[in-house]
Homo-oligomer: 186 residues x 2
DNA sequence: CCTATCGTTCAATAATTATTCAACGAAGTG
DNA sequence: CACTTCGTTGAATAATTATTGAACGATAGG
């Protein structure tokens, strides 16, 4: 038996736990805005404060959720580069750690997300621009249709230049170029 | 009657419509990654190509969805600053236009989202740091508890400096500082 | 004023996403 | 080579979110 008489009870939070809770909630809300589900954001918050490698089992007890969901959650955090799996193990259990440097965490997060965006959009643009150009060049395209295609093409070219810029932006973000006058990494 | 014999039929798409569709799909997927629902992202794509003020009714026919949903969708786009309501009206109908400059559109979008993030997090940090500091300063706080609080406080201070940096970043983003060597706004 | 139509709201329903549970293969242990 | 226990998977369920439809106040036109 672990701690007390039976199943579940309202644990009396310490003040510190309560304060942590507020920050974790804000963090989870925030990540919610970027397409990360609230619970998974909470998990990041917990790992952030815990600040030492955690096993799935520990996550389970902290979050009070099934192990399979924790497995899913931690994978999602890893996908966004907000956490990583360590090479060491505790007993037989895998260990995971959150990136606790907010600069690095959100740097990785946005770099990952934006890169995905760029890839998706570039894929579409690369697939669409050639046939559209082709149609414009065709001799038997009606004048009206050619005009419409030209308008679209112009918009897509503008998009291309945007995603070129965005790619550069992501590169700079990853290289740390935007983090110059800062980092009190004491 | 509008166009043909009855209700709904598979309209035979022109090549141009099909190509547009691919780009719209990519756009919608992309926005999906940032917490904007797919349909609403599609609507942005449609408005982007349409490139002239649209009424709710037109959106309805393009998207084949209820007017109430279109009302909701357009409001969501306006919240993210990706579209705006015009002062003029067509008949009695309100007119809306999408921001067609991708630079501006995504600039507004991220500025809005990041600002919300900053506000939420600053709110939590401002609420939590004072009482936490207080506890540390209290004479009757146990040594153990003081140590834990100090660790948390250190993390939160790091977070504060991150959000200060992020605020500056958003300001720069809004001021256009990052868009220097570009903008082929021909 | 009366009528028609706009855009919004609210409650109901449909669709999607999050979560659990049971089962399984892959190690580590003895 | 059996025995655990780990992490993942896939199907079932719960919870949330998207979408609709009906009702309403506002307002422009007659």
């Amino acid at each position: 038996m672990k701690k007390a008489t039976s199943g579940k009870m309202k644990k009396p939070l310490t003040q510190r736990e309560e304060l942590r809770g507020k920050v974790i909630d804000a963090l989870a809300q925030t990540m919610d805005l970027y397409g990360v589900n609230y619970s998974f954001g909470q998990l990041y918050g917990i790992m952030f404060f815990e600040d030492k490698p955690m096993t799935l089992e520990e996550m389970q007890t902290h979050m009070n959720m099934s192990k399979s969901n924790m497995s899913y959650a931690v994978r999602s955090l890893i996908d966004s580069k907000m956490a990583s799996k360590l090479k060491e193990k505790d007993e037989r259990k895998d260990l995971y750690a959150a990136e606790t440097d907010f600069f690095k965490a959100f740097q990785s997060f946005f770099a990952t997300k934006l890169q995905r965006e760029i890839d998706v959009m570039r894929g579409a643009l690369d697939a669409v621009i050639p046939p559209l150009s082709e149609t414009i060049l065709e001799l038997n395209t009606s004048e009206e249709e050619r005009k419409l295609c030209l308008e679209d093409l112009h918009k897509l070219k503008h998009a291309v230049s945007y995603y070129e810029w965005l790619q550069q932006f992501v590169n700079d973000l990853q290289s740390g170029a935007y983090f110059d006058g800062r980092h009190d990494n004491r």
